[in-house]
């Protein structure tokens, strides 16, 4: 089951369905951060995450009258964002670009900043599909069967990608002990 989304009142959703622009803005203010974070972590690219955020909310506003309310609105919005992320993951352009190594931004909630920076950089260096799987499974709480369906693949595919991602993350994090923080991930230009 996916992780719960930030709470929002039914009244706001109802107003949004009625075309109330202020309610649309409220949806964005509540779910913009989780969607941007999800996209940034899954795609390892700030520019692509921005695109996904924009495309997701255009779709949310244009289609909210079709939202039946049988699921949490946040889950619905995140599902749209995940589908858009997976479209990018499947595209050849994403598979050809090298990972970004930008400084992590945002609030510091727990743990050491150094550890979080190392983890973020390591995550960026995991192959695209494996990174998407590890985020959906470990953070968003999707099951292997759900991930398999989302990606049009099998449950076993999701399991093997998760194992691959964990292995790669371990390698990178263990290697980070011996290296300086800045050299954790060296971008490489993939040619195929």
């Amino acid at each position: 089951m996916p992780t719960p989304s930030p709470p929002i009142s039914i009244e706001v959703v109802a107003r949004a369905r009625g075309g109330d622009r202020a309610a649309h803005a409220e949806l964005y203010s509540v779910f913009g951060r989780p969607v941007f974070t999800l996209a940034r972590r899954m795609l390892a690219s700030k520019a692509l995450a921005e695109d996904v955020l924009q495309e997701t909310f255009v779709e949310v506003i244009c289609n909210i009258d079709r939202f039946r309310g049988d699921a949490d609105v946040g889950t619905w919005i995140k599902r749209i964002a995940i589908n858009k992320c997976l479209m990018h993951v499947r595209s050849s352009w994403v598979s050809r670009r090298s990972p970004e190594t930008e400084e992590p931004a945002g609030e510091h909630r727990s743990g050491s900043v150094d550890d979080q920076m190392a983890l973020e950089r390591a995550l960026d260096c995991v192959p695209d599909v494996a990174r998407a799987v590890v985020w959906l499974h470990d953070v968003e709480g999707y099951t292997h069967a759900e991930i398999g369906r989302l990606m049009g693949r099998t449950t076993s595919f999701s399991k093997s990608q998760l194992a691959r991602a964990h292995e790669r993350l371990r390698e990178l994090l263990e290697g980070a002990d011996a290296k300086s923080e800045t050299s954790l991930c060296t971008p490489e230009l993939k040619t195929c």
Binding site: R33, P34, P104, G106, E107, Q116, L119, V134, V139, L169
Partner: protein, 175 residues
């Protein structure tokens, strides 16, 4: 497990990221652009309906002038042949047959990723002709035209559907 590997468990604790400024403004622009495109499509659809209706009038005249002879329905190669009991007074069997062919079409596997251009072109042409017949049927229903006019249209639709199913079947076989 190495101590740093414990960090794997901390993915959930990574901080949320603040979206860059200006994205909400771009969302609003995108929504406006979509709304404009939708309005254009609706106007285009109305214009197309008017054109179809105008074309349907002479067609009904032609149908009235020529009594339609019953024609056998093409059988479907991969499945059971169609058996339509012809009845001068009713076109219900044709409607049922058309629905059966729609179901067959829906159950067919999607085309392979690499398709033959000529086959794809044939399919598009058939779909366009079916859409045109559908528009004529809508017009016939709206004007409550006599059953024989509708029967002629349903007859044509079934033939087109039969052909489309055969071509789609061929496409699934890689042609």
């Amino acid at each position: 497990m190495h101590a740093r590997a414990q960090d794997l468990l901390k993915l959930r604790e990574l901080p949320e990221l603040e979206p860059p400024a200006g994205v909400w403004e771009r969302v609003l622009e995108g929504v406006g652009a979509r709304a404009a495109a939708l309005r254009f499509r609706r106007r285009f659809a109305v214009a197309a309906a008017v054109i179809v209706a105008a074309a349907a009038v002479p067609l009904t005249y032609v149908v009235a002038m020529h009594e339609v002879a019953p024609r056998p329905i093409l059988s479907l190669v991969p499945l059971q042949p169609a058996r339509v009991a012809w009845n001068e007074a009713s076109y219900a069997p044709l409607v049922a047959e058309s629905a059966r062919l729609e179901r067959l079409l829906a159950e067919m596997p999607p085309p392979r990723r690499i398709v033959v251009g000529s086959t794809a072109g044939t399919i598009v042409g058939l779909e366009d002709r079916i859409a045109y017949v559908d528009a004529q049927l809508s017009y016939a229903a709206a004007r409550d035209l006599a059953p024989k006019y509708r029967r002629a249209l349903w007859d044509e639709r079934v033939e087109l559907m039969n052909t489309l199913v055969l071509v789609r079947f061929a496409q699934t076989q890689g042609f």
